[in-house]
Amino acid sequence: MENSLKGEQIVQELLPRKFKTSGRIWVGILVAICLVGVYAYYRQLRYGLIVTNMRDYVSWGIYISNFVFFVAISLVGSLITAVFRLAGVKWGAPLTRIAEMIAVGAIIFASIIIIVDMGSPERFYNLFLYGRIQSPIMWDVIVITTYFFISLLLLYYPLLPDIKILLRFKEKSGPGLHKFYSFLGSFWKGDHKQYLLSKKAINVLCIAIIPVAFTIHTVTSWLFATTYRPGWDSTNFGAYFIAGAFLVGAGSVVVAMYIFRTWYHLDKYITVEHFDKMGRVLVLLCLLYLYFNVNEFLTPFFKMKESEAGYLNDLFSGSFAPIFWFAVLTGIVLPIIILLFKAGRKPLPMFIVGIMVVVGAWFKRYLIVTPTLLHPFMPMHDVPKMYTHYFPSWEEWAISMASLAGAMLVITILCRIFPIIPIQETLDEHHETAK
């Protein structure tokens, strides 16, 4: 009796809640940023890519940096959900839904931002009509679509038992949402056969998502590495990108964990221990990414080939040095130092470290794209001065910020509709503990 009362309390605490004033303001801010971005994109469509500051040399600017950032963040779905699950890491269970929501939000906007980068998006369909299977861009399109689909399924399957619970609370969810829940999973009765089929499907998805996740970011790295340019001509790029992706993904989960925990008072479910363990994961990923960074930069720095010297000097001590060292220190070195101490793995320091990692990672993506394009092997000759440097136009900033806001809006909407922490899994765990 006490057990069922406790269970009911868990359900009540984990049900999705309507936004209060702060939530509405948050959504309003995100929508406003998105609208500014939509207007900027209207201008880009109306006047063409000339409204951006991308020119002959820097033809991939902040949009592609953002694309790489989104793809990187989306990998967290595979890390928390699949890798943890297959490795038997049970403490990660309350974080799986957060990870999947972030993955879905990020992958949607990775797809959108790549279309934004196109001068004539109305010709996008030509990619499918005339795309060449030999092109890494085609591989990227295929693998992003696949990853998006797997992420959706991985979000959907574990939701089925929770939807059954949500359907019990028609008054609380309202008629619209109730109808939506019914459409999604009114057929779920939770019997043994259904449970077995669902469990099998989740296991298959967990296995499938890992190679696809590795592929998505490796292929993204190959978009650069298969292009012969200073800084991109690297065999280390696939592993370097994946290490960085797991780091930024884990960082974003930590940030989301703290926000949801504080906002929805989920201290009982997302505990200090979760932060401590995620801190350990994060420090490991930071060290791994640091290792790949050393690999990526030390050997070219040691050789200092004439053709790459301009790029490397610009990065280490030139115009990009402040961003470069900021990204390295903020995104990798300082988190390692902070997280090595137990006090650094408490919720608030972890939240700050998570933000540092995510911000550092965003600038790192910018540094992967832009400095290389400003240092081609063939020196720039007889070009307008503005071609020789790059700073995004307000339209680029607005669209990029709108894409970030859009991804957060998707996550916000998902956490409004669905439970942030899997209810049924938490109940099962509670019953097991009670036994």
Partner: protein, 295 residues
């Protein structure tokens, strides 16, 4: 008093030294013109239309350097209006070229030796200059047999061509940058019959699609004959088979020409993953069906 004398001497000496130092350039401004050196060369390839090359140099800081933009008048045999070969201007390398025009055909046929004259009238920078070159008419005949090349050098005497002894001949294969010697011996000298022979030792040299290469026998910078050469095409080279991947299955071809291995591997992966995903979607319908049956 002695001090004053010494001071005067120092002042006078200093003024004299300063004048010497500054005067060297100061007095030469616009007063002296540089002299030019003109060198003429005669060329004839395959017994066809001969041409003249003029190389003009000037001394700058003790070294000869090419003088560009120098207008030259070229004449055949004598400096007169009827024997003008042409007016040329030297390029940045100090060189200028001119073919002997058809209008001088009779003049050309009239003699077995000819003198070429070049003259520069002088301008603000350079003194006037002249040069001449006398050549005797000669020709080379080339023949090949069993990878041996034979050249015969003849000189025109009155109306007949007679073999010339003791002329240095070079044998080579025409390549893009220069002529490649046919073997390790740089030059061959003609015998009393005017003949010189060389063995061809460049068997593996790439030729055209049929293996053709162009042999050349030449006399270079000869005091008597100038530069004469003759060419012959022989199928002694290796056949060049161009590697053209156009319209073949490569990573850089069009979409319809993707490599088979890539199509198989990528299709295999895509099918394996998407069939799994389709089955997983189908699985949802199975779960749905089970739920409806339970109801």
């Amino acid at each position: 008093m002695n001090t004053m004398k010494l001071l005067n001497k120092i002042v006078a000496g200093s003024i004299a030294v300063m004048l010497l130092i500054s005067g060297n350039k100061g007095f030469s401004q616009g007063a002296e013109k540089a002299s030019l050196s003109i060198t003429l060369s005669y060329y004839e390839v395959n017994n066809q239309l001969p041409h003249i090359s003029a190389l003009v140099k000037t001394k700058v800081d003790g070294r000869f350097k090419p003088a560009g933009g120098i207008p030259l008048k070229l004449f055949l045999n004598k400096d007169s209006a009827g024997t003008v070969i042409g007016k040329v201007v030297t390029n940045e390398n100090g060189q200028a070229f001119a073919f002997i025009p058809p209008s001088l055909k009779n003049e050309w046929k009239s003699s077995k030796t000819h003198t070429f004259l070049a003259s520069f009238d002088g301008d603000k920078r350079y003194e006037s200059a002249k040069a001449d070159l006398t050549v005797a008419k000669a020709k080379i005949e080339i023949s090949t047999a069993d990878k041996t090349i034979t050249a015969k050098v003849f000189q025109l005497t009155d109306t007949t061509w007679v073999p010339v002894k003791g002329v240095d001949v070079k044998f080579g294969v025409r390549r893009l940058g220069a002529d490649l010697p046919v073997n390790e011996t740089p030059t061959f000298t003609t015998d009393s019959t005017g003949q010189a022979s060389a063995d061809f030792k460049r068997d593996s040299i790439p030729g055209d699609a049929k293996g053709n290469i162009v042999l050349v026998a030449k006399v270079e910078d000869n005091e008597q004959f100038g530069n004469i050469a003759v060419e012959k095409t022989v199928p002694w080279g290796a056949k060049f088979v161009p590697v053209n991947t156009f319209d073949e299955r490569t990573l850089f071809a069009t979409r319809s020409k993707a490599p088979i291995w890539l199509i198989v591997v990528s299709s295999g992966i895509i099918l394996a993953v998407w069939i799994t995903l389709i089955l997983l979607v189908q699985n949802i319908f199975r779960i749905k069906k089970l739920g409806q049956e339970t109801e």
